[in-house]
Symmetry: C2
Subunit: 165 residues, 2 copies
């Protein structure tokens, strides 16, 4: 995983920077500083150059990424066309939650727009937190559920049936 | 909540019946019998007649329902039309997960097709499990995350852009 880019060590080396941006990290909404520090010990940081694929469509991943600096674009292949740009992910955003949970390939790509630092929580990391710190795991899983609920409601709103009866 | 229908007591009164149907209850996929029993102590059971609204569209609910017997239909209001029937929920299915997590009204109705028994896990119940049994709570939250991930992947597949570029 990410062997061709700079390994920056575990995220607890960057606690000061992460503390400064906690208001921008929805995942940490209900976390205390101590809980953020504990979680960060289980996350590995990397520095990617511009145009680097953090996630490639269809790639087997089972980890979550938290963008710390820079930004990236979510893109999806469209049959007979170029890549569709779906959205932009900025510092504080997490991606890959679904693959962390079900281990299935992601259905879109995520490509850095500028040099970007990010932290990774793997399935192994999550399993360690579940085993060693079940109450921290409660908060983390609830945060992921809140994010997925928001996305489901947005999608439900966008695709509500208009002419069925 | 459900004051006009029959209150059947807590779900641990029906453990034998619930054990017999655990293969049909995805929520309990990774649960041991002891864990199912513990969870059932926090769930209240009700018996509803035919055509009873288990959930009314737009209604403030903050609980999850598990269908134990019978079945129900998920319906949604369509402007200028009759109700759209979206899907059928059978014994073993859970509904209302999103409202349990975010406390927001449901965007569809769920109406019994036949006399139906169901169990309810409220937000208060979930909070008690989080407080008293954090490891059980993690199994429950992971089961909800797996269900939401499945739904997000299905919706993503259904509404994948075909002509964007």
């Amino acid at each position: 995983m990410y062997r061709d880019i700079e390994d920056l060590g575990t995220a607890d080396n960057y606690l000061d920077e992460i503390r400064e941006m906690t208001n921008d990290i929805q995942l940490f909404d209900t976390f205390s500083i101590t809980e953020i520090e504990l979680l960060c010990r289980h996350m590995q940081c990397y520095g990617a150059p511009r145009n680097y694929p953090l996630i490639a469509e269809g790639q087997d991943i089972n980890y979550l990424l938290l963008i710390l600096t820079g930004w990236a674009e979510i893109k999806q292949a469209v049959p007979g066309s170029r890549m569709a740009q779906l959205s932009e992910v900025v510092a504080g955003t997490t991606i890959g939650e679904m693959s962390l949970i079900d281990g299935q390939p992601d259905s879109s790509s995520c490509i850095t727009s500028v040099p970007t630092d990010f932290a990774v929580l793997t399935k192994d990391g999550l399993n360690k937190i579940l085993l060693q710190s079940p109450r921290l795991a409660n908060k983390l899983l609830l945060a992921l559920l809140r994010k997925m609920t928001r996305r489901l409601r947005e999608m439900d709103q966008s695709y509500r049936p208009l002419s069925l009866h």
